[in-house]
């Protein structure tokens, strides 16, 4: 069933901001290269379609492990299943980085009144630890640790 085929569900409603997308696109190219406007538009549409694709698959993954909320692990699994496994390491690193930055913010705001530098060093050490943990997890293939059931058509 293709959600896109359902009448009345306009997929034009939510798109990605053109300026941000243009920036990402231009950063990939030499400075003197121009990008035709219709090419830019098409790239943006492709990205939205990519989100749709990964979302659907993440939803499936989430269902299979019988959870109610789509979590980052489900998204990572979806990426792998759909052939975007190459992205996983960088995506996961960005996610971990975000967690550290969030942790730093809450630390700075709270009890560490004089420890700004110490916090950063500790955060870096923590980051290394988390990366090591993450690698161990990923290498153990532990994205979906419990095999829930005997569904024959789990994934190809």
């Amino acid at each position: 069933m293709e959600p896109m085929d359902i009448v009345g569900k306009s997929k034009e409603d939510a798109s990605l901001p053109k300026a941000t997308m243009t920036k990402i696109i231009k950063e990939m190219l030499p400075p003197d290269v121009r990008v035709a406007r219709d090419a830019q538009d098409l790239l943006i549409e492709c990205c939205v379609e990519f989100i749709n694709l990964i979302s659907s698959e993440s939803n499936e993954v989430c269902n299979r492990v019988e959870k109610r909320t789509i979590a980052p692990e489900h998204v990572l699994k979806a990426l792998e299943v759909l052939g975007f496994g190459e992205y996983i390491e960088e995506v996961y690193a960005a996610y971990e980085q975000h967690k550290i930055e969030t942790m730093q913010d809450s630390l700075k705001g709270g009890k560490w009144s004089n420890g700004a530098e110490m916090t950063e060093e500790e955060a870096v050490a923590e980051q290394q630890r988390m990366f090591a943990e993450a690698r161990a997890r990923m290498n153990g293939g532990a994205v979906a640790p419990k095999q829930p059931d005997a569904e024959p058509s789990l994934e190809s």
Partner: protein, 103 residues
């Protein structure tokens, strides 16, 4: 970091080292996620962050591949047909075939 492969010599200092703030608006991503199907589950606050990075990587890859086509045509303007060619030439972009063909 991701290896750029055959065309790494062309783009210098492109994507490396830029993992910092996520560029794409999380609320917008979440909105698109919710529209992607009828029975989409609840989305954790962290999922859009993962998406944001994945989208970046996706656009970067698609742009790079399109640019390769542009260069093969000895042009300096990346046009829509280049994007189409890149999609058709890449297996994992099969889901885009209809999208690029309908225009």
């Amino acid at each position: 970091m991701r290896q750029a492969g055959a065309y790494s010599g062309i783009l210098c200092g492109g994507i490396s080292g830029r993992t910092g703030p996520h560029l794409l608006p999380l609320a917008r991503i979440k909105k698109i996620m919710k529209k992607s199907g009828d029975d989409v589950k609840m989305i954790s606050g962290e999922a859009p962050i993962v998406f944001s990075k994945a989208c970046e990587l996706f656009i970067e890859e698609l742009t790079q591949r399109s640019w390769l086509v542009t260069m093969q045509g000895k042009r300096r303007t990346l046009n829509k047909e280049d994007v189409t060619s890149a999609v058709l030439a890449t297996d994992i972009f099969d889901f885009l075939v209809n999208l690029v063909s309908e225009t």
